[in-house]
Structure formats: C-alpha cells, structure tokens
Amino acid sequence: MIRNLRELWQYRALLWNLTQRELKARYRGSALGFLWTFVNPLLLMAVYGLVFGVIQRNNIPHYTYFVFVGLLPWLWFSSSVGSGASTISDRRDLLTKVRFPAQVLPTTVVATNLVNYLLSLPLMVGLGGLVGIWPDVHALAFPVVLLVQLVFTLGVTFVISALNVRFRDLQHIVANVLTLWFFVTPVLYIPNAVPEPYRRLYLISNPMAVIITSYQGIFYEHRWPHPRALVIVALGSVVLLAIAAQVFERRREEFAELV
C-alpha cells in the first residue's frame, strides 16, 4: 500500500492535471458550465423533498436541508464507485501505450468527485442559512469525516476498478448495488427510523451509514460524530485500502493485456 501511495504522490501532477481536465471536460461547451454541478443534487433534493417532505410527510424538521447534507457526500461516494468501475477498462489508449501507475485513474475519479462535493458545500451552507442552521464548532470534525470517507471510497474504487478489467459484469452489478445501497443508507431518513433490534447491526454493517450520519450530526444536528463508530469505520477503511492496494498490485500486470 505504501508503494502504491508513494507512486501516486510521484504522479500527483498527472493526478491533478487529469482531475482538472475531468472537471473542465464535464461541462465544456455547455451553457450553464460548472453550474451543472449544483443542478443535479439540487434537483434530487427537490424531488426527495417533495416526495418525503410534502407527499409522504415525515416529522424531520427542515427535511430538504437534511436530505441535502447527506445527499452530497453520498453522491461523491456513488459517483466515484459507479464511474470508477470502468475507469481502467476504458483507458486502453493510455494503459497499452505508456507506462504510468494505473492507480492514478481510479484516484482521479475519486478526486474529481471530491472536488465537486467541496464546491457544492457553500451551496449547502447557504441553504442551511435559509432555514437558520449555520455551521458551528462541530464543523471542526468535518475534515476527519471527510478523510475517513476518502479512504473508504478509494478502497472500494480501487478493488472494483481492478476486478472489472477481468470481470466486465462487475460494472453493471455495481451500478445496481449502488441503487440499493442508497436506500439502506440513512440519507432520506434518520437511523432511529430503523427498528431498534436491527439498528446496531445496520450501523455496523454499513460504513456509509456511519459516515453519512456523522455529516448529518455535524451540519444538521450540531453534535459530534459517534467516536467509537467512526474510529471503527476509519480503521476498517484503512484495512480495506491496504487490501485494495494489494489486489490492485496483483492485478496490475494483466491490465495492459486485458483492456
């Protein structure tokens, strides 16, 4: 894993350049340009707000803002994993022609979506301001949660992008699993809505649940993330990333031959 990350560091200029390009390319030539970054989550928020805040009325106050707080990091995760799956298998042009560490590719996807997330944070804060919820001292924990999610997302993306080179079915499986995963993660509801006997299992088995509720704690409820749960997820994510780097390393030689 150390070697893997060190190579990433050596190629940080490439990583940065590809990320920049990815961000620019996404909206180049469109009239709204970068504003599209905000349109997608806003639209999703509006739909969920309408369905679960108005039609299927629930008793979570400032529901739309609540959804937005959880939705943004979830989109970071799901877009990274979703488009990260094919990131290596799609880059035949690069992999078979030049030598460079392949882990740059999935990392670029994660980094691009991270930048998207960070850029939409001011929008989230502004939206919170509208309903009178401003970030307070609890925002200090935000970088920690962000880092945990980064490690976790990188781990998942590494494994899937590496395995997808041989098993092309994976990218389709992943797309569907992500949809299911979204609904078992407390973005649209609070974990307390899960029946008591299952709640613990629910939180343990889904790292994203812990991460999302941590964000909601920071920005919505103004409380610190659950320390023990977060530490467990953090450690688990580091282990996952280590294993992912290992899997990646072992598969790497076949990339150029299989893509």
Binding site: Y11, A13, L14, N17, L18, R21, K24, A25, R28, G29, D93, L94, L95, T96, K97, V98, R99, F100, R166, F167, R168, D169, L170, I173, E253, A256, E257, L258
Partner: protein
Amino acid sequence: MSTSDAIVLTGVSKSFRKSTIRREHTTLKSELVRWLKRQKRPEAPTSIIPALRNVSLSVPRGKTFGLVGRNGSGKSTLLKLVTGIYAPTRGTVEVHGRISALLELGAGFHPDFSGRENIYVNGIILGMSRREIRARLEEIIEFSELGDFIDEPVRTYSSGMYARLAFAVATHVDPEILLIDEILSVGDEHFARKSAAKMEEFRKAGRTILLVTHDLVTLQRRCDQAAWLDAGEVKVSGSPVDVVAAYRAAVAEAELAAMEQHVPRAPVPVQPRSGPPAEPGRRWGSFEAELSGVEIHGRDGPQHVFSADAPFRLLAGYRRYGPVEGPQLELSLRTDGGTLVWSTTERLPESEAATLTLEMPRLGLGDGNYLVDLSLGNANGALYDVHRGLHGFAVRAQDSSGLLAPVHTWSIDPKAD
C-alpha cells in the same frame, strides 16, 4: 550488470494466453464456479501464444539500436516490455536511465481541449514535470508549427497537425533512453526531415535510442546496431548492414516461395533431356519442348561482367519433343533483389528445332547484378520449360547508379562574363 549498457534483456520470453488475445473474458460466474469446485484454472498448452522466445539483447549506452522484422514478429511486444507496460513471462529486463517511449503519438490527448492544454497532460504522461513543460512550452509549440491553432480544440486538427503536435511533445521530453515505434514518417516531407534532424540531435547528445522500423534505409543510415526479430526470436544481431542483408534475403526468399505456390508445377519425376535438372523454383515444366545451351555473350564470346555500353547477346537452343501448340518464349530481366526491369515475349516457329538469339547492341543497364528468367510455354498457359535464376550477369558502372544507363550526352558551354 554492465553499466555501459542502457537496456539489457536476458532470456526474455513473453506469452499471451489465447483468451486474452481473443478477448474472451472470464465471467464472474465461471470464476465463481471454478472457485467453488476448487479447480485450478484450466490452462491447455495450446492456449498459450508465445510472442517472444528467449530473447537476449543489450543496447549500449549512447547508441542507436534498430529492430526490424515482419508484422507480428514481436517488435512491439519487446518495446512494451522495455517500457514496463508488460511484465516478462520469463527472464529479466533491465533499464538504466530515464526512459521515454513513443509507442503511440498523443497518449491521453483529449479532443475537446486545446493543443496547449493537451501538451501538459501528454507531457506529464510521458514523464515531464509541470515545470519542465512550462519551460519548454514555447519551444514545443514552435516545433509543432501549429501557430494560432495551438489554442483550438484538438478535435479540429487535421491528422497531420495532430501528429505534429504529439511528436513535438514527445521529442521534447529529453529522456536518457528513447524508444520509438516507427513514427518518424509523420506529416509531410518538410516535417519528416525536421523529425529526422531531431533524432540526429538526440544521437549527438549521447542518448540511447531503441528504434522499431520497417524502413531499411533508415535503419542503415541511423543505427549503430541492429537486430532482426522473427517469430519472437532474434534471428540476426549485429551491424545494421549485416542485419539488413540477412533480412532482405529472407524476405526475397519468402516472396519467391509465395510466388511458386501459384505456379503449376509438373510432377517432379519428369526430367529434361538436356541442361540442368528440374528443381523446384529453378527449373520446371512439362518438358515437351526444351531450351538448351543458354549462354550470355559479350562482343567476343561468353561474358559475365558488362559495362553499361557493352553489346549483349543471349543464345539458346530450342527443340520440341512432341506436338506443341503456338510455342512462345517469355524473357524477363530482373535485379537480384527481384525487381522486374524488362519483360518481352517472342513467338517461336512451329519447326522441331531452332536457334534463338537475342541481340542488344548496347546493354544500357545501371550498376548491379541481374538475372535472366526464361519461360517456354504458350498463350494458353502451358509451361514447357521454365528457367528461373539460372542465368545471370553483372554490370559494373562506376560513374552512375540506378537501374538504367540510357544513351546520353552532356553539353556544357562555359559562358564568358
């Protein structure tokens, strides 16, 4: 490990699994089933395709090394092994020095971005740092001769412009070892010359170059050493002149062999009554009629070396042994490299025997070795007696080169001022 060598390959083999080549992807299901049954992955020996077999090569530091070979002989695989894109199945690949590979131009180019933006990404992929690129940006743009187009999206470029930009970036990487896969023939004449000059500059600067090419002239002119790869093995390695000679000979042989497959051949037992015996590729036919006593004469008798201005005469005897219909003789003159210089067909009389003489008052050929092929047959495709590569002569002309030495005069009038 010798430090005077930039690249050392020791007993390198590389095989591809056939499924890889046919792109039959293992599915998740099959892999799961296999795992559940705890079987080893089935690997029939037939499913392995060797691309390189036990290749040992060393490229000395500061030299230009050329690789030739037919398509599919493993040249590109070898370059990819040196680059590190592939890992060798067996053997070791050592590379001493910063390497830059020009296996394909424009790696990572994004069509929607301007030439300028693409220089950065492409440059970084090829191993330059941002600072290096910034320092050389103007130089690269100037070399590419794109002018104002540099700020237009790459998708609007013509293929020549695209290649020029890519080549400009690639040659400004300034590596210690440069790998090139036949891309020197990029763009128009003018740019090709510029690229060649750039290569020369690399050479002079003491860089190591490993070059894959089909152009034997380039190989002889630019390389210090060369190797010829065939079916994944090094056939000949050494001076470019030797390698090119061996390669040329093999190609000519292969072409001849391919040609022969189309020539209907009489069953081998039929032998001519006179002259050299029937031999596949040299003499064949039904021998219902034969050519005999074929001789090449100069002014005063048999001769084998001519000057361009000398008279030339070919003599042959003709005799038929059965009824033949409309016999004719086709005579072809070709160089020893196989290039056809001249071919002519002459009808022969219906008589039983004849003496044939071809007269050329002045030979008029350029310096080189020539072969006279004779084919006795008829217009319906019958072949009675074919002589190929049996009769030859040489022309020695010091003051000219080329195939032809036409009759000519110079008139040069010095002008008084």
